[in-house]
Symmetry: C2
Subunit: 250 residues, 2 copies
DNA sequence: GACCGAAAAATGTCTGACATTTACCCTGTC
DNA sequence: GACAGGGTAAATGTCAGACATTTTTCGGTC
């Protein structure tokens, strides 16, 4: 729609792509809607049309935009967005008001996928993988229940889950580790707002420890169950339980 | 390394990106190696430097290349390639000699993921999803055992599995449907070379039918097991059984 | 009213120049 | 001889303007 409240620009094409992508992910333009024209964008941000084109190329590669000569640029449907693109995860991180649907879908995906990944990890983890897992878990323990270290705790949390994906030793699963940071950060931001008594942690630490132990023992079935319980926590936090089991008309 | 045997160019930036990507995926340049410079590429293909830049931007967005001002362009490690990018799947389709590692990783991923997707699908499929699944299965049946319709059979096969991902009703899983065409095509090309007696089909049709029936009945556990057996076939075709269960030193 | 053509509007491409970053070599000094 | 310094070359990044191509729109003609 409009470009108001998007001030002048400083930085290269990547920075501009980031700004536009985050504005789009925040809902400034809706799917199906027309995106501003190259010349308008160039004029508004006081940059060359070439730079705008490079920035838009990044958004197009991420499946956010659809461009055709003569017709203009339009926002693609949410279902066409490349949520698995690492670039997209970068853009999603720290977004103030991401589309709630996106967060729900990301968490629902992890809820179904992460048990399998943990099972694979239990069967394939080597010494390096275990070292990464243990280092991340140690970091989580040391930074737990210290309000000032919340940011570091999140980073260790991300590193822990990322290490599970890495330990699967599969190129495709490993690529999905990029999904972790945005989804975990969204959870933290969400669960901190409605101030809960226990701080939102639950027995998170203990359940992570169960995953680690199962992977260390090479027990895939136990690892899958433990991973399911870790994510059961987060699912409950967002009232996601209904996301599974609901079935449309038959 | 070199640009020999890559003739002159015709088409836009997308076409050039496709040519370069397919050459790269075919192994013409190895990870860590230096990619040709913009001006050399422009001279070789008789196009403008701008067009080359746009093409390289696409390869960079797919994680294939890493570009830094002053240092040049280098091929990234295989682990950094964005295998989940739909663009990458397009480039992979029909590649004469794809890196065997990539095919193996894709199939290993499906072997672990597709049972979960089928389970989700059993719990979430609606009437439209079932119609798509049944249409695809009908197409598979009608084109089976007809040598002239091999290409169409593959398309129905892709459509069947894609419908499973769609039926999961999760944005992330649905994105992964793009992986199906390249992996299925690679399987077909591979299993047709060493001429096997039964034509490589096995009881593929029957096992697909089992998946369809389980999803129609809403039986997630059965759907997962059936999906595992469908992929067990393909795994055996490529001697992939060893991909799971092998564990490095402890 | 239907068909055709010209003009407008948007993205795609070309060209040449300059900016910026990085690596390399060459020099001077201790 | 080793090392710090600057200067030059090389590669990618950005800018500016023009032209090409595609799509839509509007008008005119029959």
């Amino acid at each position: 729609m409009s470009l108001e409240s998007l001030g002048p620009h400083q930085g290269g094409a990547d920075a501009l792509a980031r700004r536009l992508a985050r504005a789009l992910l925040g809902g400034r333009w809706l799917p199906g809607e027309a995106f501003p024209k190259e010349l308008d964008l160039a004029a508004h941000f006081t940059v060359s049309r070439n730079l705008v084109r490079n920035a838009l190329a990044a958004l197009t590669a991420a499946g956010l935009l659809e461009r055709t000569a003569g017709r203009g640029t339009r926002v693609r449907e949410v279902g066409d967005w490349h949520l698995l693109d690492p670039q997209m995860s970068d853009w999603l991180v720290g977004l103030e008001r991401p589309q709630p649907q996106l967060v729900r879908e990301l968490l629902a995906f992890r809820h179904s996928a992460e048990p399998v990944v943990a099972e694979l990890a239990a069967g394939a983890a080597d010494a390096d993988d275990l070292a990464r897992l243990e280092a991340a878990f140690r970091g989580m323990s040391e930074t737990a229940e210290a309000p000032g270290q919340a940011a570091q705790h999140v980073e260790y949390d991300v590193a822990f889950h990322e290490a599970i994906y890495e330990a699967s030793h599969n190129l495709v699963w490993r690529q999905m580790g990029h999904l972790l940071r945005p989804s975990i950060l969204a959870l933290v931001q969400h669960s901190q707002r409605p101030a809960r008594g226990d701080g939102g942690l639950g027995d998170s630490l203990g359940r992570h420890a169960a995953v680690l132990a199962a992977i260390r023992d090479g027990d895939g079935t136990r690892a899958a169950r433990a991973a399911r319980e870790v994510l059961g926590l987060t699912a409950r936090d967002l009232a996601l339980d209904t996301a599974t089991g609901v079935r449309a008309d038959r």
